[in-house]
């Protein structure tokens, strides 16, 4: 499903060049469950952003579902994000003025789906993450775990094949974190490819495949 060939990403900070990714080769099959680990600044988020088409490699080639997506223009990559990729973030990133249901509906709104169908899908998604009772609650009225479950429901609203989570439990206590991971793993079991960045060894151990990064390189990959 995912194929990275010699992908590098450099950032220019003033005069300096920061090599966030150095010639990474990676191949991921559909339906995999992967944990990305490694010290801070090793390039995990950079890798995930590239996979999610929020960023572009400085060199190398990225193909998704057999299609070269390296050179897609802005509108095309927005479309791919909309249709194939779901994001979950450490800081939830819910829109504070929208209630849970409206937050979950955002990708559907962006995709231009009709209100009637939106409503139906959102109700189902809320039920899937066990928040049917909280549909009209604002983010400020929800706990961390609930916020992250809303975010997961939102990520799933377009039934993406690829689910990318950058430290989804980073702001949650251990028990809530486990709970949230349970929801994500449930989605993986239903077929979604799940890639999770985590600093938590216990969570990392639950993934079938573990990729460890250091200094912009993949230094260990238990599938390779």
């Amino acid at each position: 499903m995912i194929q990275l060939d010699q992908v590098s990403r450099t950032f220019e900070v003033g005069e300096q060049q920061v090599l966030a990714l150095r010639e990474v080769n990676l191949s991921i099959a559909a339906g995999e469950y992967i944990a990305i680990m490694g010290p801070s600044g090793s390039g995990k988020s950079t890798l995930l952003n590239l996979l999610g088409l929020l960023d572009r490699p400085s060199s190398g080639r990225y193909s998704l579902d057999g299609r070269d997506v390296t050179g897609l223009n802005e509108a095309e990559s927005a479309r791919v994000r909309r249709e194939k990729i779901g994001f979950v973030f450490q800081f939830f990133h819910l829109v504070p003025r929208l209630d849970a249901a409206a937050n979950i509906a955002l990708p559907l709104v962006l995709a231009g789906i009709a209100p009637a169908e939106r409503k139906q899908r959102v109700a189902q998604l809320l039920a899937d993450v066990g928040l049917s009772e909280r549909a009209d609650h604002l983010p400020s009225q929800l706990s961390g775990g609930q916020l992250q479950r809303v975010a997961i429901a939102r990520a799933m609203s377009m039934h993406p094949a690829l689910l990318l989570a950058d430290e989804p439990t980073g702001n949650l206590d251990r028990a809530t974190g486990r709970e949230v991971m349970g929801v994500l793993e449930g989605l993986n079991q239903r077929g979604a490819t799940l890639i999770v960045i985590t600093h938590d060894q216990e969570i990392g151990a639950r993934a079938r495949r573990r990729i460890v990064m250091e200094d912009g390189r993949v230094i260990s990959d238990n599938a390779a």
Partner: protein
């Protein structure tokens, strides 16, 4: 993304910051309101002046001896030409031109008018019966000059209201005698009090037959010939025919000037319209100021909402979607402001109309439309830069908390 959803998302953001929205809207309102009320005033002034002119008769054509203009004429016409006088015969000939309704020759002078020991200086108008209708004068009591051949110097006169009061007081002036210069005239009528009318006070005139005036003033010529055309459409035709006729009568010399009330009216119309436009334009500058305000606020807003913009992009919004959101937001504020401004402008115009009832103060539709369009356009134009900035925001970067 559906248009309705774009609007409702943009509206949500605006509704969340009601004070900010209201303040920018207010700035727009003031601009639009200013344009509306100032153009209403300008149009009111224009309407007032046109009305005054129309009171004098829009079908009026005036023949003046001598050429008024020098531009465009052949050099020979300019110097050493003795201008022929206008005569009663000229006036009679003009009366036979088709599409002419009426003609009144006119002589103007000033003379001492006395009755017994009472006397005063008055403006002497020598003319014929049609003068009354051509100049839209109103008769008080009695009769105006009798119709008949214009070369008969009948010793009769019609007194302006003020002259009547000063010479006769409360006594009935009809049939009374007054002395004008060295002749005696019988009073056959008086004019109604009309007051000042475009710089000409009919209350202080004495009207006598034109032939009598020529004898009194000792002149064979006329001061003006006043012509009334049959309807506005005939004015231009009558003007040309008059010029041609007088040219042949004056041995091929085009030595008269013919002005039409229409032309004067058109000039005033142009001047006052230009004035209205200028005033409206100056008011429109405030719309630009409001636009700059929108730009500023939107730039701040883009900076504050980096994370939200990044999120929308991660969820599949294209740069175009994001740009549309910000433009719609600006467009909504501007439209709200414009609507408020129209209300404000109409309210102010209504109030002014109450204060100055003689001015027809109604905001002109074109100005209202232009002001609203300018406001919305300014809003969108000035929001373009912030919207573009938002659209180009690096999603990965704006989602990270650094």
């Amino acid at each position: 993304m559906r248009l309705v959803d774009t609007f409702s998302l943009a509206w949500g953001t605006l509704a969340q910051q009601p004070r900010r929205t209201a303040l920018i809207g207010l700035a727009m309102s003031i601009g639009v309101g200013a344009v509306v009320v100032l153009t209403a005033l300008g149009e009111g002034a224009r309407g007032y002046v046109l009305e005054q002119f129309a009171g004098l008769g829009t079908n009026l054509i005036i023949v003046i001896p001598g050429r008024a203009e020098t531009t465009g004429a052949a050099p020979g016409v300019l110097s050493g030409q003795s201008t022929r006088d206008l005569t009663l015969d000229d006036a009679n000939a003009v009366a036979r031109i088709p599409w002419v309704n009426d003609v009144a020759p006119l002589n103007v002078g000033s003379a001492q008018v006395t009755r017994g020991s009472l006397g005063r200086e008055a403006v002497l108008l020598g003319s014929t019966a049609p003068l009354l209708t051509i100049r839209h004068m109103h008769l008080g009591i009695g009769h105006f000059l009798p119709p008949g051949p214009s070369d008969q110097a009948l010793p009769v006169c019609v007194l302006g209201d003020k002259i009547r009061r000063e010479l006769f007081g409360n006594a009935n002036p009809l049939g009374g005698w007054v002395r004008i210069g060295d002749r005696r005239f019988r009073v056959i009528g008086t004019l109604a009090a009309q007051g000042q009318q475009m710089g000409f006070n009919t209350d202080e005139v004495v009207v006598i037959p034109v032939a009598a005036a020529q004898q009194l003033l000792n002149t064979p010529s006329l001061f003006r010939i006043l012509i009334e055309a049959r309807g506005r459409a005939a004015v231009q035709r009558v003007k040309e025919d008059t010029l041609a006729l007088l040219k042949t009568r004056h041995e091929g010399e085009a030595d008269v000037t013919v002005i039409t009330q229409d032309a004067v009216l058109a000039t005033f119309d142009r001047i006052l319209t230009a004035l209205t436009l200028a005033v409206g334009g100056i008011a429109a500058i405030s719309l630009g100021v409001a636009g700059v305000l929108i730009m500023n606020v939107m730039l701040v807003s883009v900076a504050q909402r980096r994370a939200e913009i990044g999120l929308l992009k991660a969820l599949g919004a294209s740069g175009g979607n994001v740009r549309a959101l910000f433009l719609v937001e600006a467009g909504l504020i501007a439209s709200l402001g414009a609507a408020g401004g129209v209300v404000l402008g109409f309210a102010a115009s209504f109030t002014l109309g109450r204060v100055y009832p003689q001015l027809p103060i109604v905001p002109p539709l074109w100005a209202v439309t232009a002001a609203v369009a300018t406001a919305i356009l300014a809003g969108l134009l000035f929001a373009w830069l912030p919207a573009r900035r938002a659209a180009k925001l690096d999603a990965a970067l704006s989602l990270t908390r650094r």
